[in-house]
Symmetry: C2
Subunit: 396 residues, 2 copies
């Protein structure tokens, strides 16, 4: 497995970005990711029940279609809480792009991040499309990864490549931050591209597994955006033997089992690569949290189950008192104890053990032991600082 | 109904406080509330599953006994996460007090607030008891209401008196703040005293009703303490006709119904007085939230039920982004929309209406309309400020 701290688009993918004028600052604000051939897609969206128009369009397209060609992303406007008009705007941007690319409109996915409750300047977007498409290239990812910024201060990108048989397979991801809030709300967006040849059910499963251990394990301020999106496109251009999920192994036939095991190992290989990309991007998001001075890893051990461990870890990570104590380098284990109890877990104080690494470092490890079982979970978070308050209070 | 912005102990109650040395500062840290005669008691404790030793002792006493004589409260130490030793310390303080007062040890209730995980200096407490008891008086409440402070900057006190027949009944309450955190953790404590003659089931019901609309409707930082306690003592010294809960009215007998209705009205009268005291104390707690510059009232209207309205209001109140926007006087309704969606409520954006009063005032009203039903709920909260972070980070 080869690892790269930068985005390297896999075979068959191109990207580009442009300053379309959605952002008043004149910065890059419209990105396009394009696959030369139809790609399988899998997405995970925010659990917030109020969702941006792009998410509603994506859900429709994902139900109706199996082959995707492009993702259009704008920053500066979330196209959320914009009603029927907002839905039509999103629909129109997908249609305009599809027609310019001469592909099915249902093969387009959308993402928006930025201010809530304001109409998308659809005319600006339509006007920008020809140039955006004309400039598509492998290197275009370097602009695109910046065009999705809101208040991000550095790019979030990672690439893994590995072999399946003699074919080299690449998984490449970019993301923008959450808990950064300006212009009006944080949105976490992550786009992952792979040339792996993989079945729909396998890509769905792999994404679900990796999101559960990465993007769903970070928290900056406990606020859930209306537009959070993780999307993966897999176009099969690597030409590897199709990756699938292993059916239940048949122990009655050793030969069959071994053959299937090979397929299963390829799924494992792919999932490992995807996990690595997802986790790197998720951690980068936390490292770029606004005003943060600490990167905090909270590991809850000896829980009854993974969900239980995660719930306790999230309660600690989202406690303002805990986050402020970390900023102040105040070894205040009472705040951790209290957060564990606030999670609703029935635990005796005697069964709870807490270890915290030295607080005067940039990276802090908190370990909690529950004495209830063998499951564990890790949550990544940042501290809460006066700078966070200042930045988010002063934005207008 | 007469209202007083200060604590006036009802008939048959006395109080006192002393600096026992638990607080290094030499400030008042041990308070005693005493009833000359046995009083009914009702309590509500934190929902945090990790609870301080005093709460465990109180639960035992409340199960075993119906007549209470005193509440011993210390600040500076929460006696929480102190294991078996902490339980013994709490038990010993109750026993020592009971023996000095010559009352049953089970007639004593306890409360502690302060640092977590440190043994209670029981010797200091025992040494202080004789003087504490000797100084008991009506006016002692003025010291006692200050002895329960942690980082409170002003006293929280309120008294209501009203007549039942020709008897004057008084309900008097004092409290200390939550979300103030130092020394190590906030604890909300409220003690309410009444000379009303009222049945056990009626006092239980009245306290439950009033806590649900007052202390359970405030949030400063969403952190739940291990030691939160609301306790009411009712000693019956007013000599009023016993207040009880109305049994289901019997419409077959008008006379009976009217008589019962009288009893019911007394219960209503008492509950109104108790609600007023509880709500005033709860609001004072929010007004004294550390670092806060705004008092915010969040009313959610047109919900399907009170719990639904309350849940949505709490999600808004606990959103760091919302609280920071209030501090910054940033009319950022996207953050409110997002918090409503994060509550898990299935609502269409079109059905959501939001009104916010001018943000440049000290008191802010947020009104949310859900278009789902006729229930409403109000939550009181404060803004999140750089000062909050500073105060809580720097405490050691």
């Amino acid at each position: 497995m080869k690892l790269y701290n930068k985005a390297i688009l896999p075979q068959g993918f191109k990207a580009n970005a442009i300053a379309s004028g959605i952002k008043g600052s004149g910065k890059l604000d419209l990105a396009l990711f394009y696959s030369d051939i139809g790609a399988s897609a899998s997405c995970r969206f925010t659990a917030n029940t109020i969702q941006g128009a792009p998410i509603m369009i994506n859900k429709k397209h994902l139900r109706a279609n199996r082959q995707f060609r492009g993702i259009l992303v704008n920053s500066g406007n979330a196209n959320c809480f914009t009603g029927e008009a907002g839905l039509k705007d999103a629909q129109e941007s997908a249609e305009s792009l599809a027609s310019a690319l001469r592909v099915d409109k249902k093969s387009i996915l959308l993402a928006s991040t930025g201010i809530i409750g304001r109409r998308l300047p659809i005319a600006k977007i339509k006007k920008a499309l020809p140039l955006l498409i004309k400039g598509l290239s492998k290197q275009g990812i370097d602009k695109a990864k910046r065009a999705i910024f809101t208040t991000d201060t550095f790019t979030k990108e990672f690439t893994v490549s590995f072999n399946i048989g003699k074919r080299s397979v690449t998984v490449c991801g970019i993301a923008k931050g959450a808990g950064m809030i300006a212009p009006n709300l944080a949105t976490m967006l992550a786009f992952i591209f792979t040339d792996a040849n993989i079945t729909q059910r396998a890509i769905d499963k792999a994404l679900g597994l990796s999101v559960g251990n990465s993007f769903n394990c970070i928290t900056v301020d406990g606020c859930m955006s209306t537009n959070d999106t993780v999307a993966i496109l897999a176009n099969g251009a690597a030409g590897n033997k199709t990756i699938d999920i292993n059916p239940a192994p048949s122990y009655s036939s050793r030969k069959l089992s071994r053959r299937r095991c090979g397929v299963y190992n390829n799924f494992n290989l792919f999932t490992r690569a995807l996990n690595r990309v997802s986790l790197e991007l998720a951690q980068l998001i936390v490292r770029d949290a606004e005003g943060a001075t600490k990167f905090i890893r909270i590991k809850v051990n000896k829980a009854k189950s993974f969900p239980e461990a995660k719930k306790v870890a999230l309660h600690i990570a989202n406690s303002s008192l805990f986050k402020v104590a970390m900023f102040g380098e105040n070894p205040n284990f009472g705040r951790i104890v209290s957060a564990v109890g606030a999670s609703g877990l029935r635990i005796k104080a005697e069964d709870l053990k807490i270890k915290v690494s030295p607080l005067n470092k940039k990276e802090i490890d908190v370990e909690v032991y529950l004495n209830r079982g063998d499951a564990s979970a890790i949550i990544y978070t940042s501290d809460l600082t006066p700078e966070y308050v200042k930045i988010n209070a002063e934005y207008n």
